[in-house]
């Protein structure tokens, strides 16, 4: 077991654009940390730097208080599960699993015992004398984990290990990996582009975009209190609705109602964000946000229904860091509601949203306003889930979650670099 610390780690391949820029974070002993982001965001590069498969251009990598930036992968005491598993096709499962032990010159008897022990743990004992190509995707995945586990590594690195499995198996393996990780308590760094994987498996998520850390925090916090427009739009499926408030000098207003306390200089620079599940059918109470529109399309998912509602409010989209208003007539709100609601098709509807569920972002910087000042929110906003915690974490006013510094929430965290 180990702690891993990254201090201003940067990777530049060619030119001036870094693939990974100034990442600083600490991974606690036994923690399960997910690196999440879209394709090409630098998450795999970051993992490969921890593994030693990529060099670090600048910054320092520390495993168990030992700087390892220039240390060969074999001397870092890490194990890695690759996206394509990388099981040696010419070796049996037993040979695959004992190969790392053989290289450590562990004697045959001990090797066999260890392989049998891990194979029992992963329920692949029956497969030990088979070749990888005769195994199913799930079994191969287990073998890849087994090969990593026999070495009893200090840190377990996983690079999208479930992406080659079908949806059902992915859900099953997801649970198995979490149970195993909790049982063994090995510090784990897990790369994925799948937010569901990150949300369900990780103790903390690091959201990365264009090589930069966007936010670090527990899944509920990342989902509930996104640090910026990117995180808000990336997390959740369908993503958060972004709306443009009315042009007003009297604070942020929607449909004539104040949605937050006055004080913000200009509503034109504010983006209002509401999750699809936080918008409900019905007449709004005076302290609630009120919206209305016509249901243009209904998508039924069985237990719930997604309604696409044409509305008069200007709906915004965030593309490549820019906030763009939807074309006239294309202002569609997405609302998630329980049950099977095809009856709503083409119906005019009134909608309401609790103010506690509304998030505000600066349209220029994309930054969430709850990170900057408590004063900018109405009294009812202060008690929202996670806000207080967030305020405590960010008391240093540097917007820790934005620049990649650890939030300091995890009790096991040390070395909160400042």
């Amino acid at each position: 077991m180990a702690t891993v610390a990254l201090d201003n780690v940067t990777k530049i391949y060619t030119g001036d654009t870094p693939s990974v820029a100034n990442v600083s974070l600490t991974i606690g002993n036994g923690e399960f940390l997910a690196l999440l982001g879209p394709s090409g965001c630098g998450k795999s590069t970051l993992l490969r730097m921890i593994a030693g498969l990529e060099t670090v251009t600048s910054g320092e990598l520390i495993i168990n208080d030992r700087p390892v930036s220039g240390v060969h992968p074999r001397d870092r005491n890490i194990a890695m599960v690759f996206q394509n598993y990388a099981l040696y096709p010419h070796m049996t499962i037993r040979e695959n699993m004992e190969y790392p032990l053989k290289l450590q010159k562990v004697e045959k008897k001990s090797r066999n015992l260890k392989v049998e022990e891990v194979a029992s743990l992963l329920e692949i004992r029956e497969e030990l004398d088979r070749k990888p190509d005769s195994l199913s995707g799930g079994q191969r995945q287990r073998v890849a984990m087994g090969r990593a586990l026999v070495r009893e590594p200090a840190v377990f690195l996983m690079d999208e290990p479930l992406s080659n499995l079908d949806a059902r198996l992915r859900i099953q393996m997801r649970t198995e990996i979490v149970v195993l990780q909790r049982k063994l308590g090995i510090t784990t760094v897990y790369v994925t582009h799948d937010q569901v994987e990150a949300m369900t498996m990780a103790d903390r998520i690091v959201v990365i975009n264009k090589g930069r850390v966007q936010q670090i925090g527990p899944p509920t916090e990342i989902y509930g209190w996104p640090a910026n427009l990117f995180v808000a739009g990336f997390m959740g499926s369908p993503p958060m609705n972004f709306l443009q408030p009315e042009q007003s000098s009297r604070g942020v207003r929607m449909n004539g109602r104040k949605t937050a306390a006055p004080g913000h200089p200009d509503s034109r620079h504010v983006v209002v964000g509401i999750r699809p599940e936080d918008i409900h059918l019905g007449q709004a109470d005076p302290d609630e946000l009120s919206l209305h529109g016509t249901v243009a399309a209904v998508e039924t998912l069985g237990a719930e229904t997604l309604c696409h509602i044409a509305t008069d409010v200007t709906v915004l989209t965030v593309e490549a860091g820019e906030v763009i208003p939807a074309a006239p007539g294309r202002n569609m709100l997405v609302v998630r509601m329980p049950g099977y609601r095809v009856d709503l098709q083409d119906k005019p509807v009134r909608l309401r949203a609790d103010r506690n569920a509304v998030r505000f972002f600066d349209a220029e910087s994309g930054r969430a306003m709850h990170l900057d000042s408590e004063d900018q929110f109405g009294p009812d906003m202060k008690g929202g889930l996670g806000l207080r915690r967030f305020k405590q974490v960010n008391d240093d006013r540097d917007g820790a979650s934005l620049d990649g510094r650890p939030t300091g929430r995890q009790p096991q965290e040390k070395g909160n670099s400042k």
Partner: protein, 287 residues
């Protein structure tokens, strides 16, 4: 060309799909052309077999197999040929696999320049290096040794070997190398334990081709061997002719020896054809 609806492969009617959508006439023309082309290869061999049987019939073959011609048996020429061929193949496979692994999996200064210089030697004809080779082998004391022939042969085959092995090595995902590296394997262990076993199709293909090409080599043995006992099968075609006269008996024996001298290369090709096709195709598709 007309498009025709045909049943798919594996259909119950037993027909196969012609993916070129050829008409019946097209197919007949193509088959006829193929038969004519194959005659160009088959006719000389059939002619040799025919002439070997004209006088004394099969006895000519018995004489060649059980006797000797000019003090050397056909078995001795086979042995010489195979010793050189396996030395050649070993050198080519060993060096090409190392070079292919290095070129595909390592980054170093001047890598691409070195690689293209290696490939340029594909175009160098053996005849252009004969004279320097003659002197070099003499200075090194390699004249009249099997190694003295296998080495220059390998030098000429290596550019192709390196090309084949690099192409193949690039189809092996880096994750295997990285996994072994994390598992604490040294570079040599990765080469030995991971790269070589995974390159088996390409290595077998290259080895088979190397054996085949060496068995067919006439030039280097003729230049570098002066001792009669070193005569190879390909070289024996000429040497036997020096000893056999223009009598009907000798013409029969000579033609019988020609047919028999072609046998080793044919056996190697027929045995190794599956490796050759599999190995060469393996480099073409990235998985």
């Amino acid at each position: 060309m007309r498009l025709r609806n045909k049943p798919m492969i594996g259909s119950k009617s037993g027909h196969f799909t012609d993916y070129l959508y050829r008409s019946r006439t097209d197919r007949w023309i193509m088959a006829a052309l193929l038969i004519i082309m194959s005659l160009f290869w088959i006719v000389p061999i059939l002619a040799a077999v025919d002439r070997a049987l004209v006088f004394n019939g099969w006895r000519n073959f018995q004489d060649v197999i059980f006797g000797d011609i000019g003090g050397i048996t056909i078995w001795r020429t086979y042995w010489n040929s195979f010793v050189i061929a396996f030395m050649h193949a070993g050198l080519v496979v060993g060096v090409s696999s190392l070079a292919g692994y290095g070129f595909a999996k390592f980054d170093f200064r001047g890598k691409e320049v070195m690689y293209y210089v290696t490939l340029v030697f594909l175009a160098v004809p053996a005849t252009s290096i004969l004279v320097p080779l003659f002197y070099i082998t003499r200075e090194l004391g390699l004249r009249d040794t099997f190694l003295g022939v296998a080495l220059p042969e390998a030098a000429l085959t290596l550019p192709f070997g390196v090309l084949l092995m690099r192409n193949f090595a690039e189809t092996i995902p880096n994750a295997f190398i990285e996994a072994a590296s994390i598992d604490r394997a040294s570079h040599f262990r990765i080469y030995k334990d991971v790269f070589l076993p995974m390159s088996r199709p390409a290595l077998l293909s290259l080895g088979t081709l190397s054996v085949m090409w060496s068995l067919q080599d006439f030039l280097f043995p003729s230049l570098l061997f002066t001792e009669r006992e070193k005569t190879t099968a390909a070289q024996a075609v000429l040497r036997f002719k020096e000893y056999l006269g223009a009598t009907p008996d000798d013409i029969g024996r000579y033609n019988a020896s020609l047919v028999l001298l072609a046998v080793p290369a044919l056996v190697v090709v027929i045995w190794g054809l599956r490796f050759i096709t599999r190995g060469l195709a393996a480099g073409g598709i990235k998985e």
